[in-house]
């Protein structure tokens, strides 16, 4: 129902005959507080807490309402300023109480397209592009997938969220693409992250004679409870560390296993073999050994990359071939289904002593 009294001015003038209409609008009477009931002269009920909140939002919080393109806009600015800092938002922390979480940069549109071009057009290996651009290998794969999907959408003329994308790239820190060919591409993230292995969580007291060289390989064997290496083997690893690493990375199935039954596991390999880019370690070894032969480093690095790619492709082919040999494919006439049968061996090795082992056939189907 609309109010009976037509205007506020009339009402108020009746209540206070001496006051001018201008004086009635006191500064405390902000628009959000004004009552919809025109008769009452008391301000609308707004709790103290709400009042405080809007006070903050219209004061300190004003700058968070909209962003300035190119610079992140997080609340830690205020805390920084309170502590006497610049408060220009150079520290990208969205949460005031959590100093460990930072808003990390995302790939710029150009960098994304460049990665896609290197992988799909120039046919460079993911490993190589990862090192070149300073981007994790998994991210390279994801970027290629996403850009391919984007291209398909564009071809299908599906609507894209372009203004949204632009806004996000203005709000979040971005890793740009270095266009100058002389300059190195800024690193996006650390590419050689070593995942902490479960076996290394234990604290082990392991006495070793002072005369012994106790290195990473030995430490891995101690962590996994394997016996120490024979002297000849240890000497070989000491002399040809690069070859020793290649042996494990190229044939992961050949890694020694220890333990029995369900506790059986591979011997923990040294960090050189477990990082995503072991070829970089070999590259730095080359640099240490041949400090003056720059061309040789590059040649060897490329050779290693090629070899890695070849070995991986071979392994993949072999796996596919053996899988095909094992399965019997049957396609009944006029059927859209293809049935695939695989022979199983139900023995103590595959199914365990009680027949309920995790590798037993049919385990996943109950």
């Amino acid at each position: 129902m609309p109010p009976r009294i037509q205007t506020k001015l009339v009402t108020n003038a009746l209540l206070h005959p001496h006051s001018t209409p201008g004086a009635l609008l006191t500064p405390t009477c902000t628009p959000c507080q004004r009552s919809t009931r025109s008769f009452t002269s008391t301000p609308a009920s707004q709790t103290r807490l709400r009042e405080k909140m809007f006070e903050w939002l219209n004061g300190d919080g004003q700058e968070f309402k909209s962003h300035t393109p190119g610079s992140p806009n997080y609340v830690t600015k205020l805390t920084e300023r309170r502590q006497g800092g610049q408060g220009d938002g150079r520290v990208h922390r969205p949460f005031p109480l959590n100093p460990y979480f930072t808003s990390e940069s995302i790939l710029s549109e150009e960098l994304r397209n460049e990665i896609h071009r290197l992988v799909m057009v120039e046919k460079r290996s993911v490993r190589e592009v990862s090192v070149k651009m300073g981007v994790d290998m998994r991210r390279i794969g994801a970027v290629v997938r996403l850009v391919e999907l984007e291209k398909r959408w564009k071809a299908e003329k599906k609507p894209l969220a372009l203004p949204y994308a632009r806004a996000i790239h203005e709000m979040v820190p971005v890793t740009p693409l270095e266009k100058n060919p002389g300059e190195a591409q800024p690193t996006h993230e650390s590419i050689n992250d070593l995942p902490t292995h479960k076996l290394t969580e234990a604290q082990i007291f392991y006495p070793v004679s002072e005369s012994r060289q106790f290195n990473r390989v030995d430490a891995g064997r101690v962590f996994s409870g394997a016996m120490a290496l024979p002297h000849s083997e240890a000497e070989y690893i000491n002399k040809n560390p690069t070859e020793a690493i290649l042996r494990t990375t190229e044939k992961p199935s050949r890694i020694e296993r220890v333990g029995k039954g369900d506790d059986e596991h591979q011997v923990l390999q040294p960090a050189d073999a477990r990082i995503p880019h072991p070829q970089l370690v070999a590259h730095y070894r080359d640099r240490n050994e041949l400090p003056n032969e720059k061309a040789e480093w590059g040649k060897r690095y490329q050779e290693r990359l090629d070899r890695d790619q070849r070995v991986r492709a071979e392994r993949r082919q072999k796996r596919i071939r053996s899988e095909e040999e094992r399965t019997l494919k049957v396609r009944p006439e006029n059927s859209k289904f293809e049935f695939r049968f695989e022979d199983v061996t139900f023995s103590k090795e595959t199914a365990g002593a009680d027949g309920r082992g995790t590798k037993a056939p049919g385990m996943r189907y109950g």
Partner: protein
């Protein structure tokens, strides 16, 4: 599911949401006040506080099952260090190196904040991942998107918000929903305009068969054309440039309504000019085609005599333009001020020379401005049928919450993201976005260890 995720002011609770209430609560959030409490009370208070943010939509028993005491962490390795030594130097002597105070050791040792990862398993959930990828303004909204069938995982529709993503999973949200979730809401006038537009569309559908409507439209068009015939192409181009410049200006104080008026005026002008061209399909053509048509109709041409280097740079930029939509935000001018003034000078000079001809010259700069304005018109048009304010602009207070954690790789253009790996802790940082201090998270983690 009833939304119990309120943001009370009395007992401030931080939520996974972009609301202004939440922002206010976030900036005044203090520790759980665990001092002077028993151990049990500390754990209880901390986990109660933490659970208002982490997996508030997940039942307690569900989360207790998901909880894992094993925390993933990584150590960034330096390949050059690994190449230098085989690790025996670190274990030499009595087990901690021959000289414990040698300068070879890293000087700053950064602790890994394991306890900040207490709620890491929840980040695997689909609804949380959608929120983290900035596709929804709250986890509740993300959950709704999933349930309403707007989300696909690896190309298949996924209707379960509790789906646990696996490394390598690609999830995608309908871009329209994302624009709605992240865009500013419509105001009263816009809602009304939307209703009117919808009504008109319905009416047109009814009259589709009758020829009268079509004839009337055609008449209107011819009238427009006639009106246009009188316009001098040079004058038209001049006014168009003016409008384009105002649209792309970085004036922040301009009211949205005013801004929209300008934009609409520009849109009208472009349409009027394009309607004079011979081909009838220009309005639906690609940006490049539209642009070339526009210049040909207006008899504009590029000013010659620019340095080739600059031109190349321009060309590269403008090729990116098509991919990058220009929004209301000011255009970043990479050009130094000198080049700009030079370009204007040249434009002025060439104007004087070609007084008699009916050809107007445009500098690269102006071409760029015109192109960008056209691009904006195309990518971010005024459309009252959309459920968000058009032209699209980010909603208020969004920037304070805008961050994308590293375990996701997001492509905003198609609103798709890949869950690369599980979140990890590393020296000095943890990847789980949590607003709470380490003290709170530690106590909460301890609560979920079985024996309390």
């Amino acid at each position: 599911m009833r939304n119990r995720a309120t943001t009370p002011l009395k007992v401030p609770k931080v939520r996974q949401s972009w609301s202004k209430y939440n922002l206010y609560n976030l900036q005044r959030l203090r520790g759980a006040g665990l001092a002077n409490r028993t151990f049990f009370q500390q754990k209880w208070a901390a986990r109660t506080m933490a659970r208002t943010y982490h997996g508030e939509q997940v039942r307690e028993s569900q989360w207790a099952r998901m909880f894992s005491r094993r925390i993933r962490s990584v150590v960034p390795m330096s390949a050059s260090r690994l190449a230098k030594d085989d690790g025996s130097a670190a274990s030499a002597g009595r087990g901690s190196g021959l000289d414990p105070h040698s300068s070879d050791k890293p000087t700053s040792f950064r602790r890994t904040p394991f306890m900040q990862m207490a709620f890491a398993p929840l980040e695997r959930r689909l609804d949380v991942a959608i929120f983290r990828a900035l596709f929804a303004s709250s986890t509740r909204q993300a959950r709704q998107f999933v349930i309403h069938g707007a989300v696909t995982v690896n190309g298949k529709k996924m209707r379960y918000p509790g789906y646990l993503l696996n490394p390598g999973d690609l999830f995608q949200v309908d871009p329209e929903r994302v624009m709605f979730a992240t865009g500013a809401p419509k105001d009263k006038q816009e809602r009304r305009a939307g209703r009117v537009a919808r009504k008109q569309a319905a009416k047109e559908k009814e009259q589709e068969g009758s020829e009268e409507g079509a004839a009337g439209e055609q008449q209107e068009k011819t009238e427009e054309v006639k009106e246009e015939e009188e316009l001098n192409p040079r004058e038209a181009l001049k006014s168009l440039m003016e409008q384009a410049k105002t649209i792309l200006s970085s004036d922040k104080d301009a009211l949205p309504a005013k801004r929209k008026q300008e934009l609409r005026g520009f849109q009208k002008a472009v349409r009027r000019i394009l309607s004079r061209s011979e081909s009838s399909s220009v309005l639906a053509d690609s940006l490049e085609a539209q642009f070339s048509e526009l210049t040909s109709v207006l008899k504009a041409k590029k000013a010659s005599g620019q340095e080739p280097k600059r031109k190349e740079h321009r060309a590269r930029q403008s090729s990116n333009e098509a991919a990058e939509a220009s929004s209301d935000a000011p255009a970043e001018s990479d050009e130094p001020g000198e080049a700009l003034t030079e370009a204007f000078k040249k434009a002025a000079l060439s104007d004087g020379k070609l007084e008699d001809e009916d050809v107007s010259e445009l500098t690269d700069e102006e071409f760029d401005v015109l192109k960008r304005a056209l691009g904006q018109l195309r990518d971010n048009p005024i459309d009252h049928t959309k459920p968000y304010a058009t032209p699209w602009r980010p909603r208020d207070y969004m920037s304070a919450f805008a961050f994308i954690p590293r375990y996701l790789e997001v492509n905003q253009n198609i609103c798709a993201a890949v869950y690369l790996r599980h979140p990890v802790a590393r020296p000095g940082s943890s990847e789980v976005p949590t607003p709470f201090s380490e003290e709170t998270n530690t106590a909460a983690f301890t609560w979920y260890l079985r024996r309390r």
